[in-house]
């Protein structure tokens, strides 16, 4: 099933102030071939919400090979609790072998995290998304210190849409704050990653994730050796009319 750009834009407007559950219902009702992307962190709330709307939801995770043991344990816990299969996507072995051979296991501390993430995360993600018509993410606006960044609740995914058709991306938690996510987790007895009890807020790969102190932004717990740089080429022209 395909949707016009206008329809999607209309959903974006209509659902901007709706609840994550409403946005999930829209996604699951409109698109058959859709899956939830689950990272093994706070986005577990999406799995809980989606499984209450539809029994046979599809869930996938990106197993980079560098995740914490606690994350793997959560993946199993979630699989058991909700009775769902969590499809693990793995990096291309040849690309990983080449990276390790040329640069070692921790090249991201010298270069930056993008080459490793490209191989271990974005490549497998693209491979999975090529098989889908839509995907659901746990992305939230408050995850980034770049305040200009706006994540719509629904969008045509410009990065991953293929020649064969448009891929829709739903971000039901876009307007939620971390506190709302945690209120939901506690109120609904949702299993969570044990690392959160050790001061981790944002959880990714083990070498690139660390706990943060009270008051620190969660972004400071990821790729802390790199500066959080603003996007250089965003279009934000000033209005200079008198």
């Amino acid at each position: 099933m395909s949707f016009s750009e206008n329809e999607v834009n209309q959903w974006t407007r209509d659902y901007e102030d709706k609840s994550p559950q409403d946005i999930l219902s829209l996604a699951l009702e409109k698109i058959d071939n859709i899956a939830v992307s689950f990272s093994g962190a706070e986005d577990v709330v999406l799995v809980d919400m989606a499984s209450k709307i539809k029994s046979d939801i599809k869930v996938f995770t990106l197993d980079t090979g560098r995740l914490h043991p606690q994350t793997y344990r959560l993946l199993d816990k979630v699989r058991d609790k909700y009775g769902i299969e969590i499809e693990a996507m793995y990096p291309n072995a040849e690309q990983v072998e080449k990276l390790i051979k040329e640069k070692g296991y921790f090249s991201f501390y010298q270069d930056d995290h993008k080459e490793c993430c490209g191989i271990r995360k974005i490549g497998p993600l693209r491979r999975k998304l090529e098989t889908l018509d839509g995907w659901i993410t746990g992305q939230r606006k408050d995850q980034s210190p770049d305040t200009r960044q706006t994540i719509p609740v629904v969008q045509v995914d410009g990065a991953f849409s293929g020649e064969s058709g448009k891929l829709l991306k739903f971000n039901p938690l876009a307007n939620w704050h971390s506190a709302q996510v945690w209120a939901y987790i506690r109120a609904n007895d949702v299993p969570y990653n044990e690392l959160h009890e050790q001061g981790f807020i944002s959880i990714g790969c083990e070498p690139c994730t660390r706990p943060v102190l009270p008051g620190q932004h969660e972004r400071e717990g990821r790729w802390w050796w790199e500066e959080a740089t603003a996007k250089e080429c965003g279009l934000h022209a000033q209005t200079n009319k008198g």
Partner: protein, 111 residues
């Protein structure tokens, strides 16, 4: 087919880094000859042709390409490697494509 490239000029008059990189690649490959027009999105002029086109197409980053096909279809590309692969039929490496996706979509860090 008509291909339009929109590039951004920053407030100090210099081109944005990404636009510079893309134009250098197009010039090096000779593919710049296949670009029919280049519009400027001037950071200090909201009414510059590039900004107006970006607004019309709801594009929030530069550079981007607009491809107007002979049959009336219009495609917009914000990913350079996707554009050269699909429109200019150039072979691209997966590594290049992934690097650009990450550059253009920093929010993917949190996937």
């Amino acid at each position: 087919m008509k291909i339009t490239l929109v590039k951004k000029i920053k407030a100090d008059g210099s081109p944005c880094k990404k636009c510079q990189e893309v134009i250098a690649r197009l010039e090096e490959s000779g593919q710049i000859l296949q670009i029919d027009q280049i519009l400027i999105a001037d950071e200090v002029d909201a009414d510059s042709p590039g900004n107006l086109l970006a607004k019309e197409l709801s594009v929030d980053r530069a550079p981007f390409f607009v491809v107007d096909h002979d049959d009336g279809r219009r495609d917009v590309y914000t990913v350079y490697f996707k554009f050269v692969k699909e429109i200019l039929k150039q072979k691209t490496s997966e590594q290049e494509e992934l690097a650009e996706i990450m550059h253009n979509n920093p929010e993917l860090d949190f996937i």
